[in-house]
Symmetry: C4
Subunit: 229 residues, 4 copies
């Protein structure tokens, strides 16, 4: 079942090593199917160089495995909560990509210092707090999803398609798995340049709001004029 | 039309990923044709791995598309203003290369700390101010070009073939597209070493003027003796 | 003799350049054979691109060469002391990988700042003191092993499969050579992110203990649920 | 003439891009022939991807071109002075490799923070002062060589086969071109780790002298026991 989506999500997973976003198996991509209400996700702990499209696991929105010979990613309950909370998300990525994770470990949101960031993300990339002892010892991965969902109650997840989880790593999303990976690449690049920028000028301020607006709306919304549309 | 220039500018564009100066489509190269007064530029938002010579777009100095199936780069009005202001520029590059953009985001010009810089650029690589709200909300890309042109009224664009745009990225230029890309590589390398040099010695001073003169004029002008000329 | 182990340890050695953990010959892997009580180790100073399985050297637990045309690694006495002190170690790696060695040179243990670290290492990665003048001028490599063994008297070497040697480099271990190399990759990645994390937030604190426990025991021990077991 | 040496020095030059020590043509290797008293050096400004063994230039110790269709490297007079001052040097490398050049631009000698450095270089890698205005405006490249020679009057160039030139780059040497390149790789690696080490611990001290002695003499001199000799 969902053979086409499995192929797509397999391809999206394989982009993670291509773009140098994962070491070993430290990442996963999933994609949601509107018709069935199921999603397809990477199996847990399977190495990228042996991964095959048919290894992808089908899961429902209660986290039950519907099909697949492997266990789904251990982060599956986080994906479940995100798909439940945000109907516009159709693809989700989790990685420990090095620069983004360094910001997550530092417990800091990434300020918007320039147009590279503003072209894709409207405002800072938030870093949610660490879970409490109770949340960690309980349904840890589910609580991670709930915490992200709470953070985005006041934000538009389409305008900021990424979040840092304190002491952990990064989640990004999009209209499909491939776009979610694209956003994961953007976050890593933006995280690298923001850290270096603060090293070069410790007093640096975020880019002016007018510039952030200009670049974001140059690529998004009805007045967009970037690209071929 | 301009098939040879299209091929050249296509090749120059393909050097950007080769030298690791672009992620996705975050960059473009153009080249000017003296005879027609037109220039050739990368189409907007087209991925490098599918780009072909015939995709290049021909534009006139008022920014009108003369030929091409695609829209030209959204940065075309910046290129227009630069070609209009500086008749010696025959190739222009724009990128968000990571180290140069970190300096641009930091809002700092790159001091000349050594001979690698002095071999190509005479004095600091300037960082122009961010545009005002009015300039951003008006003809943003054109105003970017006008601001760079104003900065170089007091400088020789052949002696300093590069500029940083605050909160944005870098523009470089040269006698053709290939030389402009060459200068983009130099800026990225120089930006990296200047940042690391300040980390190693926060009190570092620019290289002595005599050394800057020596290296610049060893490679440029009538007394140059570097290379095979 | 021990042809299968030689092949395995050869393969494990070849992973060091693959994962960019060594420059020239600055590293080695060994593996222990329970039946004979011997171990197999890389020959000293032989370049990786000419190394062959049959070049591996067989050594006993008193450091005597049992078989092999080459001298064993000059670090052999360190491997000897570790195998003697810790019966669960079956593979050992030594490298000068750049980020881990930077921490070792800095004389600092690597704090656990996040789940990437906690997934593999329970608590900080210790940096043992530099040897004394007497220890250095005496049986230097053996004394290095004794110092590590002393450090791990109070620690579980399976829970923290890595150590930094001040002013020197890193040793990691595991249930075989391949796992020891896997841990060497983890240490390098964790060392990189910890350094960057402190650069981004100089006041950063280690990850909460509950989170460290969660991630470590998600992958280790009888309640582990990561992967396919 | 000197066909074998030309081939060797060509191969040594080609190692510079292989080890990522040069951008464009920012580096050169030469090798000395005892019999003729000539040396062979890379031609000036010729790109590495078109370089051929027969392009190497033969020069005498007064800097005259003896054979070759190209001009020799513009740094030839520096090589001349070094060969004249130090009869044990048989190969010399000059690069602008990024980390070493960052230290040179910072005007700092590289302290010996660990055994990676001590294995190859006995004590700090010195950074010579910038030339004076007079020295720069006079015989610049020759004066660079004289300044290095003066620095090494009180040092053993075999024990410290490298030097940083303030605001410029690095020179390394050895018993042939290949060993000189080997030392250039070491300097770059050591420069990188020393900078990161100071970032991780700004109060870091050099490695104890006993450790520096141990590692240096483990690989050099009559009591050496590293490798297969």
């Amino acid at each position: 079942m969902l053979e086409k989506l499995k192929e797509e999500i397999y391809e999206a997973n394989m982009l993670l090593p291509k773009y140098d976003l994962v070491t070993f198996t430290w990442g996963n991509v999933s994609g949601f199917d509107d018709e069935t209400g199921y999603f397809v996700i990477k199996p847990s702990g399977v190495e990228y160089d042996v991964l095959k499209p048919e290894d992808m696991v089908v899961v429902d929105l209660e986290g039950n495995k519907i099909e697949g010979k492997y266990n789904p990613s251990s982060d599956t309950p986080t994906h479940v909560e995100l798909y439940k909370a945000f109907p516009t998300m159709k693809g989700i990525v989790h990685t420990h990509s090095a620069w983004a994770t360094s910001w997550a470990q530092a417990g800091r949101s990434i300020p918007c210092y320039g147009t590279t960031h503003a072209d894709y993300m409207y405002g800072e990339i938030p870093c949610v707090r660490c879970l409490t002892k109770e949340e960690i010892e309980g349904a840890y991965e589910k609580n991670t999803g709930l915490l992200i969902a709470e953070c985005f109650k006041e934000k538009d997840p389409e305008a900021v398609p990424a979040v840092l989880c304190k002491n952990h790593g990064v989640f990004t999303w999009g209209k499909d798995g491939k776009e979610a990976v694209h956003n994961a690449v953007v976050v890593e690049e933006v995280a690298k340049m923001a850290a270096r920028c603060e090293m070069i000028n410790p007093q640096v301020e975020p880019a002016p709001q007018a510039l952030q607006d200009k670049h974001y709306f140059r690529k998004h919304g009805e007045n967009a004029y970037y690209g071929q549309k």
